[in-house]
């Protein structure tokens, strides 16, 4: 038997180095942009009265006061409870619904109109309805998060499952795999990159939903803290709280992007 020529198992060195160089270059550009942004913010700010837009340094010091007093950590905790529970429900319900939607025609017929509805209408418009149904409760806020995010998980999961190469499922079937086995060992792994893309978009939507719910369904968390501070015209704390949410959002999104890249490595190239 003729031995196959050994392929290079890893990319050659120079490619790795240039990749590292590129990464460093990207980091430098990002830092430069951030410094510029902070500089402009600092110059544009005016700390003479509370009503005006605060400087960067004042925002940071106000932020630190909020952290030290424990106000910000507690509100963040409350807010994240909504996000966490809501997003968990989105995953636990959204992924199976997506799979069934892709695999069962009847399910598709039932689910699709609602998905279109949820994606097409401005979600803010149905918040009063949720409030009327569930009141100013935790459940109401979680519901808002779920409704904001779940369509993206369902749609992307369904698309990813439908796009799985039929040759792969045929292969599994020809080896005698059951439907369940084929789903577990072939269809789901093949659909993971598409599913992760949906989960990333859904997380962004869930973050928006979380703040919107708290701003409109007043009750707890960051949203109500912002509403309260705003009512007293305290611009600097409002900004500090808003920035905290933005930073949390960036961290969570980066985390999901990282997981997405790791799980989807095989689908590149």
């Amino acid at each position: 038997m003729v031995a196959a020529r050994p392929a290079r198992p890893r990319a050659p060195r120079w490619r790795l180095e240039s990749m590292a160089d590129r990464r460093l270059g990207r980091l430098a550009i990002r830092i430069a942009a951030l410094v510029l942004f902070i500089g402009i913010w600092q110059a544009a700010g005016d700390d003479s009265i509370n009503l005006l837009f605060p400087t960067f340094t004042r925002t940071v010091s106000v932020w630190w006061d909020l952290v030290e007093s424990g106000v910000l950590p507690i509100t963040l905790l409350i807010t994240n409870q909504t996000l966490f529970v809501g997003f968990l429900i989105v995953l636990v319900l959204g992924i199976p619904i997506g799979i069934f939607t892709a695999r069962i025609k009847l399910m598709d017929k039932i689910v699709s109109p609602y998905l279109t509805f949820l994606v097409a209408i401005p979600m803010i418009a149905i918040i009063p309805v949720i409030q009327a149904l569930l009141g100013l409760t935790f459940a109401a806020r979680v519901t808002v998060v779920v409704l904001f995010a779940i369509p993206y998980v369902v749609i992307n999961t369904a698309v990813a499952v439908r796009r799985v190469d039929p040759v792969l499922t045929e292969m599994a079937f020809s080896f005698g795999a059951s439907r369940l086995m084929t789903l577990r060992d072939v269809v789901l792994p093949a659909a993971v990159p598409g599913m992760m893309a949906g989960i990333r978009i859904a997380l962004g939507q869930a973050l928006i939903g979380m703040v919107v719910a708290e701003l409109t369904i007043v009750g707890a968390g960051i949203g109500s803290l912002i509403a309260d501070l705003q009512g007293r015209f305290r611009v600097a704390p409002v900004l500090a709280v808003a920035c905290s949410i933005v930073i949390e959002g960036i961290i969570l999104m980066s985390l999901v992007e990282w997981i997405e890249r790791r799980l989807g490595r095989w689908s590149k190239q």
């Binding site: 392929a7 040759v167 689908s267």
Partner: protein, 267 residues
């Protein structure tokens, strides 16, 4: 009624219709007869759309038919079975799995424990010349190497009947010649019966004991050519005048169908 005792695959008067979305019925196969004896290597060649893949899928148990009988090793086909394995044109490897996991896939489906299936897979990877690549991913391999993995995966379940649908058509011409000899090498050491689909006439003649020529609209068998070239076959076989003659004969039969797509139906 059961076929001849020594038949690995027996297709008798099989017809098949496809029903398209708008309800239109098209006849894909018209009363096809085909026998692959045990240990035999049989190729099917014919114009695009003549129903070669359809037939192979029926034997594989992943597609039904409308009339006639399909038997494998004397038993009517009712679905996929452990005595059959398929090698796919597009390799059909799972890109997120390493080579060894791909080769073990069929064994995993059959519930073979991991150490044992890795053992079997390692042996087969060696025999297809990929002993050093068990931890590689399919995308890191060339097309020829990927199809070696596909072949190893099929052989791993120790089938008695091997079904191959244009397995080398996505592979460059030189690598393809090497794969052909390697396939014959492996086959000669087993008692595998092979049904092999191809569009390459030299490939069909080089590999087979019998070349089945099919025509289209609807698919049917036009002729079976016995290949009496001695075995083992090697590079010298390709220069043998008998090889050239047989290849020419296959081409003569096919040429008419390709230049005039309706000539074959009228006949």
């Amino acid at each position: 009624m059961s076929g001849k005792a020594d038949a690995a695959i027996s297709i008798r008067s099989v017809s098949k219709y496809y029903v398209s979305g708008n309800g239109k019925k098209t006849k894909a196969l018209d009363s096809v007869d085909l026998t692959v004896n045990r240990g035999e290597f049989v190729s099917i060649i014919g114009p695009s759309g003549c129903g070669k893949t359809t037939m192979l899928k029926m034997v594989g148990g992943i597609l039904g038919w409308d009339h006639g009988e399909v038997e494998v090793l004397g038993k009517a086909v009712e679905g996929p079975g452990p005595e059959r394995a398929t090698v796919f044109q597009s390799f059909a490897l799972l890109p997120w799995m390493t080579v060894i996991d791909n080769v073990s896939f069929g064994l995993k489906v059959r519930g073979v424990a991991k150490p044992e299936r890795y053992n079997i897979a390692r042996g087969l990877l060696k025999s297809v010349g990929l002993g050093d690549f068990e931890h590689a991913y399919p995308r890191q391999l060339s097309g020829g190497m990927q199809q070696r993995v596909g072949l190893a995966r099929a052989l791993a379940v120790s089938p008695q009947v091997l079904l191959m649908d244009e397995p080398f058509s996505a592979i460059d011409a030189q690598t393809r010649l090497i794969l052909q000899t390697d396939l014959l090498d492996i086959w000669s050491k087993t008692d595998l019966s092979v049904l092999f689909i191809t569009h390459a006439m030299d490939e069909a003649v080089f590999l087979s004991d019998k070349v089945v020529i099919m025509g289209a609209r609807p698919g049917h068998v036009t002729e079976v050519i016995d290949v009496d070239l001695p075995r083992p076959r090697n590079e010298a076989t390709r220069r043998d005048s008998r090889f050239v003659e047989l290849t020419g004969r296959v081409w003569d039969r096919l040429r008419g169908m390709i230049t005039d797509p309706n000539a074959d139906v009228a006949a």
